[in-house]
Symmetry: C2
Subunit: 214 residues, 2 copies
């Protein structure tokens, strides 16, 4: 058995190329050749490691999903256990806004895929339905716990608050990508939202070294 090369590594490199192309020139600029060039490999290699464009695109989507899950898991792990509801929620919104360049590219490409999935049922709708639903459930749990502990403002419904928070955050992310809002403007709206969700009492005790909402 000859010339063993790490397939996963090669594939990862190519997928990174794809994401860079899609992030800079749009997902319509993703071609076998543009990805190959961006990744610094030959067209043949993209074919070799992904066979077809459809599979390449699919693989990139799965990879984005995986990365996103990993980042979120790592973020959660960095919180004190168990995290306070407010810390949990702030970590969530901080992760969900396109704050730095990497994050911007990630959200841009992810959104591009989401739009593709709207007309292409082949392109797994799982990531765009199950993913948010799972996050929403996590948020529901945390908010219910907060409510039981009397940390939420009165008259709120945990389930609906989770949906509202998730959707609002996502909408703000989009408006940042599109250039309608700056990240800090979006952050301001979210801080306002959280201040009304939790009582105006417990504001932002930074629980991690990373940038917290402020």
């Amino acid at each position: 058995m000859p010339k063993i090369v790490d397939h996963e590594q090669r594939r990862a490199r190519i997928l990174e190329g794809l994401v860079r192309v899609a992030g800079r020139r749009g997902i319509h600029a993703v071609t076998m050749r543009s990805v190959a060039t961006e990744a610094g490999v030959s067209l043949r290699l993209v074919q070799y490691y992904f066979q077809t464009k459809a599979r390449l695109m699919h693989a990139a989507l799965l990879d984005l999903e995986r990365q996103s899950h990993e980042r979120w898991a790592a973020r959660l792990a960095r919180l004190p256990q168990p995290p306070s509801p407010r810390a949990f929620v702030e970590a969530f919104v901080d992760e969900a806004l396109p704050s730095d360049e990497d994050s911007r590219v990630f959200h841009l490409v992810w959104t591009s895929y989401a739009v593709l999935a709207m007309t292409d049922p082949e392109l797994a709708e799982q990531p765009f339905v199950d993913g948010p639903n799972q996050l929403e459930r996590q948020l529901v749990d945390v908010l219910k716990r907060a409510q039981a502990d009397g940390l939420l403002a009165g008259g709120l419904d945990a389930r609906l608050e989770a949906a509202r928070l998730l959707t609002l955050t996502h909408g703000l992310g989009t408006s940042v990508l599109i250039g309608q809002r700056t990240v800090s403007a979006a952050t301001r709206v979210l801080r306002y939202h959280l201040d009304h969700l939790f009582g105006r009492s417990d504001r932002a005790q930074p629980t991690t070294a990373s940038t917290s909402i402020s």
Copy 2:
């Protein structure tokens, strides 16, 4: 001067074809030929009336923007003058959700353009920045008026509430398009939001024959 044909009508027909193609097969399926076929005209005519694909795409975007403005103006005109803040806001969210098939196509294509605009500065960012900003200003005015009349819940900031409402609505629309939420689920979240925005008091006095939030 011979064979006078109504250019605007021809252009409109072609643009309708474009929107149908983009709505059914995605904006990447929009080609000179697919649009021509969908509109029932020859490739040559698409060239003749729009010269280049870039101009065709641009024209379609401007047309979508115009339609949207007209629908909103007509909707406002149907409200009692001056409309109550709650009626105004409910008309807004009702217009902003992809409820029927036409609306679904409109929002889908609009969102597709928005994603394109994220990487293509040529594609006027005006519609995606100025448009929402203008809507947001309208909402701010209405909410300030409501606040002055004591119709809003206490402790709210009209400006931030406008941003929150706009973004939340948009985010819910996206989640509907993607199939994560049904329209009625989205409506439920919005009703909840509005009930907390206005005091839990004045619920939905239907002010138009059209479907109101309920």
